[in-house]
């Protein structure tokens, strides 16, 4: 029963727009983008943004809600093996929802500051830790390009050590799976669905261009919250 309480509390934190389901278990819904689908062109095409948001992200949410309902059921029946069996669907779909919710906030149209380099505390921290923004970008692009299969490349901060990290995660694993104290500042989706219609097999070109619409303002806000 403690598991269910933990879930409902966490869901409140992640999705203020969730609705209460039958047993008081929140369901998640697709967060809106704060920009039009075409607003990130030419870095990321409107077709990709629309599919990515309306189909891929929505599917993760739909399946996440389904898995949570099944989990609720299994917990109520004290069916331990059913609970365990659901964990990979929860991790995958829940992770997909968490990661994409961050991703949409990581991007911004150029006219709203997308691509403008980070200033103030995050900017200094990047220079201190990596030497320069260019070095950080190069590192993230190299790791993103080298990632086999599907996954994400992250800029995160270790909230205990107050240190920036670059990490990759496989599939839809959230950054926290690489370290419980890691908080994501920026994530780049390197699943093929994130770029294929526009860049086809040339993932490095996608990685080069996505920095032109990177929303450093948001990353800085998150950083300053963890490292005031």
């Amino acid at each position: 029963m403690a598991l269910r309480t933990l879930l409902t509390r966490k869901t409140l934190a992640i999705s203020p727009m969730g609705m209460l389901g039958l047993r008081g278990l929140q369901t998640f819904s697709l967060p809106d983008l704060s920009y039009d689908y075409g607003a990130l062109e030419p870095a990321v095409s409107g077709d990709i943004m629309q599919l990515h948001h309306q189909k891929h992200h929505q599917t993760y949410i739909t399946n996440y809600n389904k898995a949570l309902e099944q989990l609720d059921d299994a917990v109520a029946k004290c069916d331990a093996s059913a609970v365990v069996k659901l964990h990979s669907a929860i991790k995958f779909n829940g992770g997909g929802h968490v990661n994409h919710s961050i991703f949409w906030k990581n991007l911004a149209p150029v006219r709203e500051g997308g691509g403008e380099p980070p200033k103030s505390s995050l900017g200094w921290a990047i220079d201190n830790h990596f030497g320069s923004l260019e070095v950080l970008i190069q590192k993230m692009n190299a790791e993103g390009a080298a990632l086999q299969g599907s996954g994400w490349v992250w800029l995160g901060v270790d909230k205990e050590l107050k240190r920036l990290v670059v990490e990759t995660t496989a599939n839809q694993d959230p950054l926290v799976t690489k370290g419980p104290n890691l908080v994501p500042l920026l994530g780049i989706d390197v699943w093929e669905h994130a770029y294929y219609l526009q860049y086809k097999n040339v993932r490095p070109d996608y990685l080069k261009n996505i920095w032109k619409v990177m929303n450093w303002k948001y990353a800085n806000e998150v950083y300053e919250k963890e490292c005031p």
């Binding site: 599917t59 995958f92 086999q148 299969g149 599907s150 093929e192 294929y196 097999n201």
Partner: protein
């Protein structure tokens, strides 16, 4: 030489890719290193031998339209598959892997799960060769003969098999492959953790694998595969993986190729069984002979025997 032919081999290719099981999954740790030949190459001698070619599919690139477009083939075969081949050749040139068969390279570089760098490319070269040959123009329909009998026996019905295969393909989270394999009672696979250790009889099973993995590392005999990396279906189906899978089963699968592979698999399985029995008999014989040997050693032993 790499051929960029749009009109590839027209006649149906008999599947030449029956898995090589000559390599018995060594338990030793394979140390992968470059040998002296690389120095000779730098000095300007010799020729760089491109070990593996980019094999064209056994049909023209537009032959599977509208179910799998020519554009998909131009990228999937022409770019992705080609890159795996080129990168693999670069990685193995001048190393101990140079000269091995592709199947052996896959198994060796799997290295009990501690993947060596060439594994990804080797696995993907093999997987894609196998995938093109798993399809044909005017494919789909139902299998027949012994293959259908085994499907009915091991899955209950053809429809049940389809369901299980599609489920595996849909729930392969991320990139990977779904497979129909012939599993010949390998409980100890040596090189990898057996995903189906409890199955005892020679039977057909459905398995799925992530990224570049394939059933060769589990010592299974692959019969059919479908690529569920997004690049395999995104141009034609975008996010709709279930639609892609339905069309694959209904319109593309070459049951002839699957049947032919099953035949080869059964023959190999039988040969392996005979070989293992022969070895066991030999060991038993050697066991009785060895009981006489110590006397010889004691007589000639001038060091420790007291």
């Amino acid at each position: 030489m790499v051929t960029n032919a749009v009109t590839a081999i027209a006649s149906p290719l008999k599947c030449a890719l029956s898995p090589c099981h000559g390599f018995q999954g060594s338990t030793r740790r394979f140390r992968w290193r470059r040998n002296e030949r690389q120095c000779a190459r730098k000095a300007g001698h010799g020729v760089i031998t491109a070990k593996f070619d980019l094999k064209p599919p056994p049909y023209p690139l537009d032959a599977l339209e509208p179910h799998m477009s020519r554009e998909t083939f131009e990228y999937h075969w022409g770019k992705h598959h080609r890159a795996y081949v080129d990168n693999l050749n670069k990685q193995i040139a001048g190393t101990e892997l140079d000269g091995m068969t592709l199947e052996d390279i896959v198994v060796v570089t799997y290295n009990k799960g501690d993947l060596l760098p060439p594994f990804n490319n080797a696995g993907q070269v093999w997987n894609h060769d196998f995938f093109w040959e798993s399809m044909k123009p005017g494919g789909g329909g139902k299998p027949s003969g012994e293959l259908l009998d085994l499907i009915n026996r091991d899955f209950g019905s053809f429809e049940e098999f389809i369901k299980e295969f599609k489920t595996a393909a849909t729930t392969q989270f991320g990139s990977g492959w779904a497979w129909l394999v012939y599993k010949a009672n390998r409980l100890d696979v040596g090189n990898a953790v057996n995903p189906r250790p409890s199955d005892e009889d020679k039977k057909l099973v459905v398995v799925k694998s992530p990224n570049a993995m394939n059933p060769l590392v589990w010592d299974y005999f692959p019969l059919l595969t479908v690529d569920v990396w997004e690049h395999a279906y995104y141009i034609d189906y975008q996010n709709r993986r279930p639609d892609y899978l339905s069309i694959f089963m209904e319109k593309l699968v070459s049951w002839e190729a699957v049947s032919s592979r099953l035949e080869s698999a059964k023959v190999e399985a039988m040969e392996r069984e005979r070989e293992e029995e022969r070895k066991k008999e030999e060991e038993e014989e050697c066991g009785t002979a060895n009981s006489e040997a110590p006397e010889m050693y004691l007589e000639s032993d001038d060091s420790e025997a007291d």
